[in-house]
Amino acid sequence: MQTLRIALAQLAPQLGLLDANFTRHHELLAEARAAGAGLVVFPELSLTGYHLQDLAAEVAMTVDDPRVLALAAETAGCSVVVSFVEESADHRLFIAAALLEDGGVRHVHRKLYLPTYGLFDERRFFAAGDALRAVPSRLGFDVGLAICEDFWHLHVPALLALDGAQVIINVASSPGRDVAAVSAGGLGTAASWRTLLRTYAQLTTSVVVFCNRVGVDESVSFWGGSMVLGPTGDVIVEGPLYDEALVVADVPLADIRRERVGLPLLRDERPELLARELGRIVAERAGLAEDGTGLPAVDG
């Protein structure tokens, strides 16, 4: 039976220090490949660090940056996800995750949802992506990429699965908070992520890969806890909290087929229903159609 070995590089990027971070990526990639990994995943903004503020423009790279291409050149026979600030030709800055395969850049996902509330201020510094695609991979199936907050929107994993993804990858820089004794594992953030990752794996009957960074930027500490979950929602591997680690999981790919045959949720999906109802909601919100939602009930 075919098994995919996945390595999660749960590292602490150095804020704004591209050279040091590239060096670390080359090292960890070599280590993961030596361990037999076919898919290596780095966390959100792994090449730049997270809390960039005005540094974002100073560390931004285009997709064809020689340093990115040099990293891609080391991916012969391997799939690698890295993340950085991507500058478009018209000088918008995106939080991007790139799928590097067989020596080149296969796909770039631009973060769709930029949290700008609470302790987050991403929309101030970044542009939001506009596209969500599952992409064919050298692994023999489609993969879907998402970045951190993208997973706090239900339809992101749903659309990726509908589009054909069998492995859905989320790269994150999730700050730990709510150190309450009542939370499972003692950390509210970790408890929330575990719940939603398990739910997504089960409902999309897909392998879900979550790579979260560790380390400290200013006030916040990133909690790690990277995970790989099987298509039944079972946790295959879970990385340590707060410590750097190369977390390795062996995923039996036949589990995806077995689960999708036994629990054909994706077969039974109704994308045309979704499209029709979404079309109606969009029209109502734009004032192009009468909106019955939220109007007070009128008696008699």
Binding site: L15, A180, V182, D217, L241, Y242
Partner: protein, 298 residues
């Protein structure tokens, strides 16, 4: 082991934290802050109270006691018991320490025994509040001087409760390079202190600013820390309105009073505003992480 079987402190359920995680986060935070600033030593002012004792224990755990300088800075009215408690922390940790009596500095300004100091005749009549603030700022002066001499960063010891109600002196006890316990309520400070080995007598005793004999925070404020911590938790962290807080059973007068304390002390929690004139203004639209490339960090 303790001979006193009673609980060391009262802990409201909703304030219980996972102390193992809090310990890991705060010690890693201390190491990261020092690394990023290019320092490997720290300075803590020890009062004999639980907050500074906890910070000293956490710093010693994070970087080793030999890299921590504890500074004891009593004023002539400070309680000898406080000094003994601070000395016990130093003995337990085995860290370097210094004793700096601040009496001549403070009295040199306010005067004493009817003899005017640098502040002149009117300063002789200064209120306890002014004197307390001056003591806190004198300690800040000493700590920052030791910071330069010892090549260590000053670690803050203010807790979330006192920061929220403004029970701090601006540029005094609140002055620091970073603060590992500023997001812990007093009740949570006690939990973490018990875990990391702060002496039980320090955890059990009534918190005090130690500005005059017998002073305690709770007698001065008129409410208990568990009560205040619970109220602040629901008011600030859980965003409950005054009406909801009263419906939960908090006394309306307490809700009103604490709400006003939080609102009136907002200025103590923020960097002073700069008049916006130029194209880019620090803190407004010139925003960099403090440890950016090119800074002193390692």
């Amino acid at each position: 082991m303790s001979l006193d079987p009673s609980p060391m402190f009262e802990l409201p359920d909703e304030l219980a934290i996972d102390t193992g995680i809090a310990r890991r986060v705060t010690t890693a935070f201390i190491r990261a802050q020092l690394d990023q600033a290019g320092f490997d030593r720290a300075v803590v002012g020890l009062s004999g109270g639980i907050d500074s004792a906890l910070v000293a224990f956490l710093v010693a755990e994070a970087i080793g006691p030999e890299r921590l300088l504890c500074v004891l800075m009593p004023y002539r009215s400070s309680s000898p018991a406080s000094r003994e408690d601070a000395e016990q922390v130093v003995r337990r940790l085995g860290c370097p320490s210094e004793l700096v009596e601040i009496t001549p500095i403070v009295d040199g300004y306010f005067g004493h025994d009817g003899m005017p100091g640098a502040g002149g005749q009117p300063a002789l009549e200064a209120s306890p509040l002014r004197r307390g603030n001056a003591m806190a700022r004198t300690r800040m002066l000493v700590l920052y001087d030791r910071s330069a001499a010892w090549h260590g960063l000053v670690v803050g010891t203010g807790n979330k409760t006192e920061m929220l109600i403004g029970y701090t002196t601006l540029f005094g006890d609140s002055a620091c390079a970073f603060n590992p316990i500023g997001d812990l309520y007093k009740s949570q400070v006690r939990q973490l202190a018990a875990l990391v080995g702060v002496p039980e007598a320090i955890i059990r005793k009534a918190p005090s600013a130690d500005l005059w004999p017998g002073q305690t925070d709770e007698a001065e404020a008129g409410f208990s820390y568990p009560q205040l911590d619970r109220l602040l938790y629901w008011m600030v962290d859980k965003r409950r309105s005054d009406e909801e807080l009263v419906a939960m059973g908090f006394e309306p007068a307490l809700v009103d009073r604490v709400g006003r304390m939080v609102a009136t002390s907002e200025f103590k929690r923020q960097v002073p505003p700069i008049a916006k004139l130029g194209p880019r203004t620090p803190g407004v639209d010139y925003l960099y992480p403090r440890r950016r490339p090119g800074s002193a960090r390692r």
